[in-house]
Structure formats: C-alpha cells, structure tokens
C-alpha cells in the first residue's frame, strides 16, 4: 500500500490570499464592493493560465510547482471563496440587511432610446448596466458555487495532473475551469436577466470546452457538441423570453422588475398571458440547462468530460443555473407581493416536467453500469425534484397560499444545496474510484493498454470498500443524502418537496397528483439505484482482478472528500435546525430557531395526517424498500480477509443479509433494453435530425448552387452562346450586309411613319 505524497508546500503562495478580505475591509471596502473581484479575478486568471501554459508548456517548474496552472486557478478560486464568505458573513451577521438587495452599477453596458407606439421617442435613455444583486438565494448558491469550485479545483490537481493522458494539457483544463467558475459566479451575482443570460452562455461555452477536453475522442467531441447545441436550443427560447420581459418591463434589471412586477413599462398593467409566455420561455431555457425532459439528452453524454468537470458542471453548479432562473420567477407570481395573477399553469407545467424527468431518469438509472452515468441520471432526477418543488411553489404563490409556497420554495432551494454538496462529492468519489481503478489497470497491464477495459464500468469493480475506505465512506454518505435517509442531508429537503406536492394535489389541485405520484415513486427508485451503485462498487467480491491492485494513494483527493462528507452528513440537519427553509424563501419574519425536538417532530410526526402518511411512505420507500431490493440483487460480503473500516463495514455486511436474487430475466427484457438505450430518446432525436435537418441543409446547399447560382451561370453561358449566334449574322458576305442595311432602312421608315 503506497503512501499518499502530500504536496501542501505548493499551496504556500496562496496563503496571503486569505488575508485579502480582511485587508479590503481595513481599506474601507464594503463586502459588496468587492463582489466584482469574485468574477474578475478568475476572468483575468483565465488568459493568464492559457498564455503561460502555452509558453511554458513542458517546463518542469510550471509542471511541478505550479501544477500546470492548477495553483493559479486555485488561487483565483480562493479569492472568490474568501470574498464570497466575507459577503456571506456580512449578510448573516454584519451590517448589510437581509431584506434589501445591494445593487452596484459598475458601468453602463449599452444605452439606447426607444420608440413608443405613438411615434414618440422615449425621453430617458434606457440603460443595460452591470451590477450585483444579492439576496438569500444568491448567498446560498454563491457559497455553493465558490466552495465547490474551490474543492473541485483542489481535487483536480490530484485527479488531472497524475493522469498521463493529460500530460501537458492541464493548463487548458485549469484555464477553462476558472472561466467556467467565473461564469457561474457571474450568473449568480448578476443583477439583471440579461447578465444572467450572458454568464449563463459563458458557462455553456465552458461546458462545451470541458466536456470536449479529450478533444481527440470522437465520443467526447460529439458529446460536447450535443451539450452545447441542446442547451443552445433552450437558450434561444430563454432569449426570446427575455425579449418579452423586456417588452413588458422596459428593463431586465431585477431591481426594476421586482420592484413591482404587476406594472410594466410606464405604469401599464402587465398582461398575464404575455408574462406567462415570457416565463414559460425562460423555463424552456432552464430545462435545457438543467437537463430536464425533453432536453435532457446531453447530460449523460457529457460524462465524457474528465470527472472533475462532471462534478463541477454537471452536478454542483451549472445544472443549478436553471433552478436558479426558475427561483427568480417567484416575484412574478407571488400575488402576495404585487405578483401577477393568472399564472397557475406555469407552476403546473414546471411541476409536470419535473415529475416526468424525475421518474424517467430514475428508471434509466436502474440499468446503467457506468458509475458516472448512474450519477448523471441521478442528477437529472434530483434536479427534477427541485423543479417539481419550485413548480409547486410557484403554483402556491400564484394561488395565494403563501405559507405553503414558502415551504415548497425553501425546501427546493435547500434541496439544491444538499444535492449540490452531495453530488459534487459523489462525483469526486466516483472520480477517485475511476482514477484508482485506472491506475491499477495501468499498473498490472504494464503499458499493454487494453482499450476494452472500462475503468468506469461497475461490473469491473466490487469489493472496493476495503481498498478505498475514504472514498467508500464519502460515497456512502453522499448516497444517503441523495436517497433521503432520515436525518442526513437531502432527507430534510426532499421530504419537504414531496409533502408540499402532495399537499397541493390533495388539498387544492387534483392535477398535481401526477407529479406527486411520480416523485413519490422516484423516491423509492432513488433508494434502489443509489444503493445499487454503492453496492456494486464497494460491496461483494471483486469482479475483476484489477480491483486487487487498487490503492487510495493519489494526493489532493482525500481532503475534498472528507470535507464534503462532513458537510453532507451534518449540514442538512444543522441547517434544518436553523430553519433554512424559511431563510431561503425570503420569509425572514418567521425565521427562528425551532429547537431540536420541534424540528424532529415537524419532520417525522407532523400534525397534518396527510403529510404524516406521505412522509412515512417516502421513508419506507426510499430507505427500506429500495435499498433492500438493491441489496438482494447486488449486495454481498467482501472477499475473504478484506476488512472495511467501521463506518462502512456495517453496511457491507448488512447488504449480504438479504439473500440474493437473480435478475437476469429482467435485465434481458425488452423494457430493460429500452432503458439501456435511454428510452430511445437519443436515437429518436438523432433519427429526426438525420432525416430532417441534414437533408434539408443539403437540399438548401444544392438549391443555392444549382438554382440561385445556376441562374447566374445560365445567364453567363447563355450570353456566350447568344454571342456566338449574334456573331454568325456577320456572315462575311457584303451582300448580306447590304441586305441587312436595307432591312434596317425599311424598319426606320416603318417606325417613322408609325409614329407620325
């Protein structure tokens, strides 16, 4: 068993950065004033890494001391993190008020005038500027983003720099990484929908670049393109939505719009129908970004990127952008505070999309053997939960059930937090597994690289619990959080979402039963596939010789896992104690410490009988039934002589106690086949494109070449042949010339007499 070679001295240059926030405070800066640094520092570091990396590529100092830019990237992210924390503390404990948002206009991006329909040019120039908008949701997501970016960057230095395939290419990775981080931070901080969209697109670009990091891989290049284009489809609708919003409010600034969403430009009452379309189009954008049905196809493919990228983009940050956007819709529909009534359908649509995606993704996750694919579908499914919760919240808001709305909203946002933390960790842990398996495979094959061996395939693993204790622990807690094991992480939020959805369905709107049933079923399915993943990977006997050579030795990987394990394990409960749900739903007035007993009672024995039944059904499904089935299929004891550390050994041994069940028949069924093929969505889209778009493009090109340009060419060739004909009239015989002249003469006579 090799020792981990820690490289902490490399981080010494970064220590002064930690003093940045205090120094700025001493200089008299407000925390909000420093917010721009969160965005600009990574933005500046991006070209720095790229250029230096390109110049000093293969230079040993650059490679070993600077980790090919990793240290620089980490430095930039440290700046962002410290300032984000500063802002967080400032808002939680400092002078800055909760209820108000700080807007700081840096510069006027573009200014212009407008023509009104009565032929008058509006007097005041309209300005699209840049600023910062901070509220509770911003704070939470900003923290999540900066914190996870920081940790994943840290993790990457272990994961990326030790992989020979990345030799001399990592500067590109880090550059794109910080650019991505910048996009995420900017999106969260943006004070207008336009800037939100701009950073949103930057993230799309980086996602494209990072997924296509292994550009030579056909599948990676394809996946990158697919990701960009699929999200682009959403983005275009989002853009149109923005145009409509602009038309309504004459501005895209949050400050202007949220000030009074019911009145539009120059005091006109907002047409709810128009607003509905605007918000729906925004939601389409969110669907694309957050990989919801039917624009979900890019996310599983996006796992072609390096694992830190999957952790960063496709679990922790970028996919949350869509949720963030939907969360920003609350003021429009909150008729308690000047929202626009008549938008109930919006909430229903969002909840439906969420429910369908949740169920579908969970279903597909059942049969995935690629560890990252499982996580990818799990991500989709969990995001769909949040969408459902948000949809329900929007519906509640719009039907003036303010309290229920706030709980649903807060629960959704809280689930976002929990899921981001857990999923970021899960991906990193899976990265750790993949990395070590890959190394082990390289080690035993000694250069004879077997391309058929897939280090991501769980069928090659099993019994890793003893070899990789930290990873296994981390993954266990992550899975628990996702499953919603009571008291851990996601439990608190997921329970809220399910309860509120059912509440809406039972008490107010029967149509909500559809998403309600779907997500309830999904809860159980989550229990199954997450357990299955863990068990296949860590429990049972090794399915491949490679496993015996796996060691957990790579530096830089443990620390993020440990930190996130702790957060996942306790933060859910902790924050629930602090009533984060109300905090996040802007319900500051009702914010209070509820106490341990109250919280537990509220969670497990709510007074409302319906809620209680739903709650316990959920727990049963997700915590008992799902995992037990998984254990029956995949569980098992470790190999003889192997012993896992105590935190996980109980689980391993428990998993072996439910007997085993053969699922070959099921796995060979047609339905299983369909699931393997992701319910044929990808095939269907592919077919559609190859049958419509590509032939049409070829037809257009043909049309342009043959018809439009052909006309020109015809004119040309006809002119030349006509010219030859004309020249033939000049026969060379003077007789003909005279004859022609006489003809002309007669024509002249005719014309002259004809006129006169």
């Amino acid at each position: 068993m090799g020792e981990v070679k820690h490289e902490y001295p490399l981080l010494y240059p970064l220590i002064p950065i930690l003093l940045l926030a205090p120094i700025l405070k001493l200089l008299g800066w407000e925390s909000v004033d420093a917010a721009f640094l969160i965005v600009t520092i990574p933005l500046l570091i991006f070209p720095t890494i790229l250029i230096i990396g390109q110049i000093y590529n293969k230079n040993p100092i650059w490679k070993n001391k600077w980790k090919e830019g990793g240290i620089l990237a980490l430095g930039a992210l440290t700046v962002s993190l410290t300032i984000a924390l500063w802002i967080l503390f400032d808002y939680l404990y400092g002078n800055s008020s909760f209820s108000n948002q700080s807007v700081d206009t840096w510069f006027e991006w573009i200014t212009f005038d407008f023509l009104q329909s009565n032929y008058v040019i509006s007097q005041e120039s309209r300005i699209i500027g840049i600023g910062v908008w901070i509220d509770q949701v911003t704070l939470m997501i900003l923290f999540v983003a900066t914190f996870l970016c920081f940790l994943i960057c840290w993790f990457s230095m272990g994961y990326m720099n030790t992989d020979p395939i990345n030799e001399d290419r990592n500067h590109r990775f880090y550059a794109e990484f910080v650019l991505f981080s910048m996009g995420m931070f900017g999106m969260v901080l943006a004070d207008s929908f336009l800037w939100l969209f701009i950073f949103w697109e930057i993230m799309g670009l980086c996602s494209y670049l990072l997924i296509g990091f292994y550009y030579w891989k056909v599948s990676a290049a394809y996946a990158a393109k697919k990701a960009f284009l699929t999200t682009r489809i959403g983005d275009v609708f989002l853009m149109i939505g923005l145009f409509i919003l602009y038309d309504i409010y004459g501005s895209l600034d949050f400050a202007v719009i949220f000030d009074d969403p019911s009145t539009g430009v120059s005091g006109a009452l907002v047409d709810s129908n128009k607003l509905f379309w605007a918000l729906l189009l925004l939601f389409v954008g969110a669907v694309g970004k957050s990989a919801q049905f039917p624009l979900h196809v890019w996310l599983p493919d996006a796992m072609e990127g390096p694992t830190p990228v999957s952790a960063l983009i496709h679990a922790a940050t970028m996919v949350n952008a869509g949720l963030y956007l939907v969360a920003r819709m609350v003021p429009f529909v909150d008729i308690h505070y000047q929202g626009v009534p008549g938008l109930e359908n919006l909430g229903i649509i969002i909840a439906f999309i969420g429910g369908i995606t949740a169920f579908m993704a969970a279903l597909i996750a059942f049969v995935q053997n690629d560890i990252k694919k499982v996580l990818a579908y799990s991500t989709m499914s969990q995001l769909a939960y949040i969408f459902t919760g948000l949809g329900v919240a929007l519906w509640f808001y719009n039907t003036d059930h303010h309290h229920a709305a706030m709980i649903a909203f807060g629960a959704s946002m809280f689930h976002l937090f929990n899921h981001a933390m857990a999923k970021g960790m899960l991906f990193m842990a899976s990265g750790s597994v993949i990395h070590e398996v890959h190394h082990a495979h390289d080690h035993i094959s000694e250069g004879n690289h077997n391309h058929n061996f897939d280090p991501q395939d769980m069928r090659n693993m099993g019994g890793l619990a003893a070899k990789m204790p930290i990873t296994a622990t981390a993954m266990m807690f992550g899975s628990m959080s996702i499953i919603g094991v009571p008291l851990i992480g996601g439990f608190w939020s997921k329970e809220g979402i399910i309860a509120e959805t059912w509440k809406a369905a039972i008490e107010y709107e029967p149509i909500m039963f559809v998403p309600a049933i779907l997500i309830l079923a999904t809860a159980g399915m989550t229990g199954f596939y997450m357990s299955r993943m863990w068990l296949m990977t860590f429990a049972g006997e090794p399915k491949n010789d490679v496993v015996n050579h796996v060691h957990e030795t790579t530096p830089w990987i443990r620390e993020p896992l440990l930190i996130l394990t702790a957060i996942t394990a306790i933060s859910g409960f902790g924050l629930a104690l602090f009533d984060i749900i109300h905090y996040l739903s802007f319900d500051i007035d009702n914010l209070k410490m509820k106490g341990l007993v109250y919280t537990l009672e509220h969670a497990f024995l709510p007074s409302d009988i319906n809620t209680r039944i739903i709650g316990w059904t959920t727990i049963t499904l997700s915590f008992i039934i799902g995992p037990i089935i998984a254990a029956r299929v995949h569980g098992g004891k470790l190999q003889e002589g192997e012993k896992a550390i105590p935190t996980i050994s109980w689980l391993v041994s428990l998993s072996g106690k439910f007997g085993s069940q053969d699922v070959d028949n099921i796995s060979k069924s047609q339905f299983s086949e369909a699931l393997q093929n992701r319910l044929y969505f990808d095939d269907f889209y592919e077919y559609l494109i190859s049958k419509t778009v590509i032939p049409f493009a070829n037809f257009t090109a043909w049309f342009d070449r043959i018809i439009i340009d052909g006309i020109i060419k015809q004119v040309e060739s006809k002119s030349v042949s006509g010219s030859l004909e004309v020249r033939k009239i000049t026969t060379g015989s003077a007789k003909d010339y005279i004859l022609m002249a006489v003809v002309g003469m007669i024509s002249i006579f005719i014309l002259i007499w004809g006129v006169s």
């Binding site: 002119s719 030349v720 006509g722 010219s723 030859l724 004309v726 020249r727 009239i729 000049t730 060379g732 003077a734 003909d736 010339y737 005279i738 022609m740 002249a741 003809v743 002309g744 003469m745 024509s747 002249i748 006579f749 014309l751 002259i752 007499w753 004809g754 006129v755 006169s756």
Partner: protein
C-alpha cells in the same frame, strides 16, 4: 453675293494647312534637277520639279514628317481657335464656332496619332536594299516589303490628309450638300486606307466590303438628300430647319429623305444594322486606320447625325420627334448587338470594333433622349455635351487600345488573342495602359469613360425620369407610365455590365496567360509616349480640373451647335 475678299480665310487655317501639306507632299518628293530649256535658246532653266530627285528629298522619311508637321500645326491651330473661341461664317456654306473648333481638334488629334502610329506600322527605311538573286526567300520578302513601304509613304499620307480635310470641312459646313461632299471626300479616302495593304489577303477584302457597303450607304444618303432638295428646293441647313418646323404633317419627301440620310450616317457611326461591315473593315485595316475609323470617322458620322436630327428635324419642347422611336430602338439594338457580339470575339480588333458599335449605341440613346422632346433646351445641351465629351475622349482610350494593337501588329499578332497573352510580362507599361483603356471603355470610375457614360445616362434620366405617373403611389403604375426613354438608361447600364466581361477578359489575358513570344515588343518610342499620354489623360479627364475644362468646352460646343 459675297466677294471672295469678304471671306475671312483665317477661319479655315487648319484646313488650309492640310491643303498646304498635301501640296507639299506632292511637290517635295518630286523636287529634282529637271531643267526646262527655254524655247529657242540653249539656256536651260532649272525648274526643280522632276528629273533626278535630289538626295535630300529622296528621303523616305519626308512624307511622314510632313504629315506629322501638318497635323501638328492643324492641331495647334484648332487648339488656338478653340481657346480664342473663334467664330465666323464663310459664305453661306460654312460656319465656324466652338463646335467645329472642338471637332477640328478631335479630327486633327486623331489624325496626328494615326500618322505617328503609322510611322511605326509602316516604317520608312533609310537605305533600302534591292533584293538580289542570292537572297533567301524570306529576306527577299522582307526587302520587298521595305521597298514597298518606302514607295507608298506618300500615298498613304496624302490620303490621310484628304481624310482630315474632308472631316474638318464637313464639321464646318452648314450646307447639306457640302456636308455630303466633304463626307464623301473623307470616306473615299478612308476606303482606300482600309484596303491599303493590298498585298495581304484581308486588306483587299476589307477594303472591298467597306467600300461596297459604304458606297451603297452613301448612295442611299445622297438620294435621300436629293429628296430633301425636292422637298425644300434648298439644302441650306437653316432653310431646311425652318421648313421642317413649319411643316404641318410629315411630308413624305422629307421623311423618306431624312430616313435615307440616317442610313448613310448610321453606317458611318456603325449603328445596327448598318454596322456589319465595321468589324470586317477594322480587322482588315491596319490598327492605326482602324483607330481612326473608330474615333474620327465615328465622330464625323455623329456630327452629321447631330446636324440632321438635332438641328433640321428638331422639334419644339414637349413634342416628340418623328425619329425618336426609330433612333431609340436602333440604339438599343446597336448597343446590345455590339456587346453581345464582342462577348465571345477572339480577335481583339473585332472585339474593339464591336465595342465601338456598342458605344455608338450609347450615344444614339442619348440623342434619342433629345428626340423625345421631353427636355428643355438646357437638358438637351447637357446631352449633346455628353455625346461630344464622349466623342472627344474616345480618342484617348479607344484609339489608345488600337495603338497598343499597333505595337502588336508589327509582330503579326493582332488578329487573335495570342498577341495580348502575357503582355504584362513582356511589357508592363503597355499592358497597364491597355488595362486602363479597357476599364475606361467599360466605364469604371474614376476613368473618363465613366464620366462620359455617366453624363449620357444623366441626360437620359434627366429628361425622362420626371415623366412617370404622378398620381399613383405604386411602383407598378409608375413603371408602366414612364416614358420609354427612361428604359434606355437602364439598357445602357445593363449593357455596360455585360461589356465588362470582355473588357476584363482582355485584362485577364494580358496578365495571366503565358506569352506566346517572350521578348518584349519593339520599343516604338513615340508611339509608347502617345500611349502613355492617352492613358494619363484617360485618368485625368475622369475627375478633376481637366475634365472640368473639357466639359466646359464641350458645353460651349453643344451650345453653339444647338
């Protein structure tokens, strides 16, 4: 009746110089030691005419030098008269004004260029050798050629001066018959010049065709003139004008007469369908002569046409002339035919001939615009200005192109595109000049060809654009109601675009094909200078003070014509 002393002959100085030149040309080479014995005595008095020629006058260079001096003198004389704005009448048959001065200038400059070019095209040789039996066949041929060239120097230049005389007088005449006689003088001489190289296959043929068709045209024209005489009893242009103006409906004599004369002049300018002999003549004649035909001869035709159509048969403002439709149609056919025929032409001289036909079409279109009677006198003057301006600058770029061909012709390469191939490699200056000429012919700004074309379109648009229906707001009603003259402008521009193809093609051939022969063409120093001058003026007259100057002169000329 005017007495001879009343006639201010100084008004005819350019012509007088040419007459002097002709006389000198006859006399000088014949000076010799001939003596005449005074009858009944033994004293012989030398008469210096005939006998053994003096060595000095036996020099074959003399005719060309005399011609050049003559044309230079007439040229400067015309220039001086133009500058001095000389005016006057000679009897009742001639009138000198800015119009005639400018055209004298055009004719004499064209002739001057022709004579210089011919100096290289038909070089005199100082000491010709007489072929011996021992010579090889080729050297015998060369020697014979040299001898021939020496011998016919005088003939050529006399004919050239005859052409000049005819042209200059023709532009001045105010009497239709005199006009015709002068035209015939110039034409007959030019027929000979076209067929001048009688030893070549094509020289005789070109001369014959040009002569036959031209003679028929002349005969038709003279018949038409006789009809006019029958109608009016007087061929003074003024008289004809007033008779025409008082004519109530179109008199058949007058109408047919004018129509027949149009045929004659249409042939001169190369208007379709009377142009068919033009390309043959140009390609058969030597390049300088072809240049002369394309510029001076065409200008002569247009002078006649303008005098007939714009003076005699002009109409009141607002009344359409009888011939407008005929000329408009003729112009469209002419320019289209010319351009389309030139499009695929493989012989540069034929191509230039067709292009010259097309240019005639443009000018006829401008004249048709006057005939529409839509414009007031000012706009008519503007159109005539454009035509005169165009005729003037044609000397530069049309003749310039033929001068370039002259250089190639001495190598025997002017009958297909081979000669132009790779010219840029062999002689960049000439090639660039040729390219400039081509662009100017195509009407690319800022070259002078553009300005003249612009002015012509300008004139057409000016008179016609205001005619469309005022009442309705849609394009369609306007399009259907606008005078057809407007579409002439459109046809000009479309034709310009078509013509661009073959002009550019010349450029492509010169710059991007491999030359047939590698070594640069003969130096031909004066010819080269003329080409460069032509190219320079082609540019300078396009925009700026010089074009301004010429425009003003052309404007004065137009004013004195109308």
């Amino acid at each position: 009746m005017n007495s001879l002393s009343d006639i201010s002959l100084e008004l005819l100085l350019p012509e007088a110089m040419m007459i002097v030149g002709i006389l000198a040309m006859i006399i000088i080479p014949n000076l010799g030691d001939a003596k005449i014995r005074i009858p009944l005595t033994n004293t012989s008095v030398p008469v210096f005419f005939g006998g053994t020629r003096f060595a000095q006058v036996n020099n074959p260079f003399i005719p060309s030098v005399v011609a050049m001096i003559t044309f230079t003198a007439s040229f400067f004389m015309s220039l001086i008269m133009l500058e001095a704005e000389t005016n006057g009448n000679i009897g009742e048959v001639m009138e000198i004004n800015q119009f005639t001065n400018l055209f004298s200038l055009i004719f004499t400059s064209a002739l001057l260029i022709t004579s210089i070019a011919t100096f290289y095209r038909m070089p005199p040789h100082k000491n010709p050798e007489i072929p011996k039996n021992t010579d090889s066949e080729s050297s015998t041929g060369t020697k014979i050629k040299i001898l021939m060239n020496n011998r016919r120097q005088v003939d050529f230049y006399i004919l050239l001066m005859m052409v000049g005389l005819g042209m200059c007088l023709m532009s001045k005449s105010t009497h239709l018959f005199l006009l015709f006689v002068c035209l015939e003088l110039a034409s007959l001489s030019s027929y000979v010049l076209v067929g001048f190289y009688k030893e070549s296959d094509i020289g005789g043929e070109a001369g014959t065709k040009y002569f036959i068709v031209g003679s028929v045209a002349s005969a038709v024209g003279i018949y038409g003139m006789s009809l006019l005489y029958l109608w009016n009893g007087n061929l003074q242009i003024d008289s004809l004008t007033s008779s025409w103006a008082t004519m109530e409906s179109l008199d058949p004599f007058a109408g047919i007469g004018i129509g027949l004369m149009l045929v004659a002049f249409g042939f001169k300018v190369g208007a379709a369908p009377f142009h068919l002999a033009t390309p043959d003549a140009y390609s058969g004649a030597s390049s300088p002569i072809a240049g002369l035909l394309a510029t001076a001869s065409k200008a002569m035709g247009f002078v006649a046409i303008m005098k007939i159509l714009l003076i005699i048969t002009s109409s009141e403002e607002g009344i359409e002339t009888y011939w407008m439709v005929a000329i408009a149609l003729m112009s469209v056919i002419t320019m289209t035919w010319g351009n389309f025929a030139a499009l695929s032409s493989e012989n540069p001289k034929r191509m230039l001939a067709y292009s010259s036909v097309a240019h005639a079409g443009y000018m006829l279109a401008a004249i048709a615009a006057i005939g529409s009677g839509l414009g007031d006198i000012d706009s008519n003057i503007l159109i005539v200005t454009a035509v005169i301006f165009h005729l003037t600058i044609l000397i530069l770029f049309k003749f310039g192109a033929f001068l370039v061909l002259t250089i190639l012709e001495n190598e025997g390469l002017s009958h297909n595109m081979d000669g132009l191939k790779g010219l840029a490699k062999r002689d960049p200056v000439i090639a660039v000049s040729m390219f400039i000429f081509m662009l100017s012919l195509a009407g690319i700004p800022p070259l002078s060809g553009f300005l003249s074309k612009l002015l012509m379109i300008n004139g057409i648009v000016n008179v016609s654009a205001g005619t469309g229906s005022l009442s309705s707001a849609t394009i369609l009603t306007w399009i259907t109601s606008v005078n057809i003259i407007f579409w002439l402008a459109l046809s000009i521009v479309i034709n310009s675009a078509v013509s661009l193809f073959y002009y550019l093609r010349i450029g492509l051939i010169m710059f991007f094909e491999e030359p047939v022969i590698e070594e640069p063409p003969a130096k031909s120093i004066y010819l080269r200078i003329i080409i460069i001058i032509c190219a320079t003026f082609t540019i300078l007259l396009g925009i700026g003070p010089l074009s301004e100057y010429l425009l003003e002169i052309a404007n004065e000329a137009a004013q004195s014509l109308l």
